[in-house]
């Protein structure tokens, strides 16, 4: 079997995983996939974090992608970083750069097995700050300067591709070259606050083509996090595994220890368990119902008859879920337009699934129920029905959602588009 086939059936341990250390964040990006802002009082303690690292070491997880929120606002971030590296678990952390002053940058340059990824969503301050907030561009640039000055080898610059920055691809590459960094571009998903801005920010069909063509022509050395395999139907598959790793080779551990299939799927439907339960993370990874379901051979459903299914695999589970599309049908951004009819058929008051996990700092966001309380922590894994192929209503499993979308409600610190 090819490697990718082994991966589809799941492994005994993840190869790597995303670990969101905190929901606290100094920024309030409009598209935040984890709806971060406020710290959750039930966050894993320093000792609990170290226990997670011990498990990952025992399971031989090769490395963790630490994020959040903004992971460096946890005072124990540096302690957890060192502990992880000392216990054979490599660390890449994703940051807006706020704490990367010259001293920390020098410290990182001295540290083996750590990788730094700076988030940036515009090659110019106006484009970036529109999404990430005033001053965020400057913060990112300062961090990149400090890392370069300290001799930190090849940080990553990670860009979420939007309607507003697709034309800046060459400029992003130039910024990366200037700082000795490697460019990474990733797909916007309608997850977390991303759902609120999806309609206005996700690339148009023409821009998807533009993005694909750029990757083919100039994408050598540009990382993609394998997030564009839905574009493979345009032609040659892009480099990478081209498969959804959620629950199979990767997953998410969130700040309160909840384990989800993927960081873009923070919703009860994709909750596999909690690391505080008996058996810890290992038991969740190896025994959860949700992951067992995801590791079954996928039939492809409505996409099976499409000649491109082998390359695109039906696209992204989270993108489908959070646009209210069936999981066994086309991706909302299917390049052949196969989802267009289903999207258009949704009625005007159609409500997409909304996660109750919301740590945003601002007052009622558009299209959200005003639910401010964090999800109650259960000590045992909830009896959870696995994700089902849905050939009837996409909302078949959903509890009815309340609230009416209110467009144009701003996120703190960000000007309202078109106001």
């Amino acid at each position: 079997m090819k490697l990718t086939e082994h991966f589809q059936y799941g492994l005994n341990s993840p190869i790597c995983l995303t670990w969101e250390l905190t929901y606290a964040c100094n920024l309030a990006c409009v598209h935040c996939l984890s709806s971060s802002g406020r710290r959750d009082p039930r966050e894993l303690s320093t000792d609990e974090c170290k226990a997670v690292v011990d498990e990952l070491q025992k399971m031989q997880v090769f490395y963790v992608n630490i994020g959040g929120g903004e992971p460096t606002v946890r005072p124990d971030f540096w302690e957890i970083l060192d502990y992880s590296i000392d216990h054979n678990v490599g660390v890449k952390f994703s940051t807006n750069g706020i704490k990367l002053d010259p001293a920390r940058s020098r410290q990182l340059a001295r540290t083996d097995y750590v990788d730094v990824q700076i988030s940036l969503d515009g090659a110019t301050a106006d484009v970036n700050d529109h999404v990430r907030g005033p001053g965020s561009y400057g913060t990112a640039m300062r961090a990149l300067e400090n890392l370069a000055e300290a001799g930190f080898a090849q940080p990553k610059i990670s860009v979420v591709m939007t309607r507003q920055n697709v034309d800046q691809l060459d400029e992003f590459k130039a910024i990366a070259d200037k700082f000795g960094a490697q460019l990474r571009i990733t797909r916007l998903r309608p997850s977390g606050r991303g759902a609120d801005v999806w309609d206005e920010l996700h690339p148009t069909a023409a821009q998807q083509r533009q993005l694909y063509d750029w990757l083919v022509a100039r994408g050598e050395g540009v990382l993609t996090g394998d997030s564009f395999f839905h574009l493979s139907a345009y032609g040659e598959a892009l480099p990478g595994l081209n498969l959804c790793g959620a629950g199979r080779v990767v997953c998410l551990i969130d700040p309160v220890g909840d384990v989800y299939a993927c960081p873009f799927a923070i919703h009860d439907e994709f909750l596999a368990g909690n690391v505080r339960s008996p058996g810890g993370f290992e038991a969740v990874w190896r025994e959860s119902e949700l992951f067992a379901e995801l590791r079954k051979p996928q039939t492809g459903g409505a996409c099976r008859s499409c000649g491109h299914y082998d390359a695109c695999q039906g696209g992204c589970m989270a993108a489908k879920f959070f646009t209210g599309l069936p999981l066994d049908g086309p991706d909302p951004e299917c390049v052949l337009g196969n989802a267009d009819a289903a999207l258009a058929a949704r009625s005007a008051d159609f409500e997409v699934p909304k996660s109750e996990v919301d740590h945003s700092r601002s007052a009622p966001r558009n299209s959200r129920v005003n639910k401010r309380e964090p999800v109650g922590l259960t000590l045992a894994p909830p009896a959870r029905r696995p994700v089902r192929d849905c050939d009837a209503s996409p909302l078949a499993d959903m509890a009815p959602a309340g609230g009416v979308p209110v467009a144009g409600v701003p996120v703190a610190g960000v000007p309202v588009a078109g106001a």
């Binding site: 490697l3 082994h6 492994l11 341990s13 031989q60 090769f62 490395y63 490599g90």
Partner: protein, 96 residues
């Protein structure tokens, strides 16, 4: 990864690189190189045994026979090992 990797020489002793983590799976092994961030998949148990056994043999050939590599497959294994050497997964071992 150095661009001046020495030519693979199966007459010499080798070892798994210290920058590499190896995790056995039912289908062979996953190998992760912390420096290059490349993930490799060793597709047979026999190849895994060769790689793991390198450090206790004086040359690659004896590591291969100790792992039971049949003569007929020797060229394919040597090619695979040469690839692993240029990827930095295995490296020449200094003889004390």
């Amino acid at each position: 990864m150095s661009s001046s990797t020495p030519v693979f020489d199966p007459e010499r002793p080798y070892q798994r690189s210290p920058s590499v983590a190896l995790r056995e799976e039912s289908f062979g092994a996953l190998v992760y190189h912390f420096g290059t961030r490349k993930l490799s998949f060793l597709k047979t148990r026999m190849l895994v045994d060769v790689v793991v056994g390198l450090e206790s043999h004086d040359d690659v050939h004896s590591a291969m026979s100790a792992a039971g590599v049949p003569e007929a497959e020797s060229p394919a294994y040597l090619r695979a090992l040469a690839g692993l050497a240029s990827a930095g997964t295995i490296e020449p071992r200094e003889i004390p």
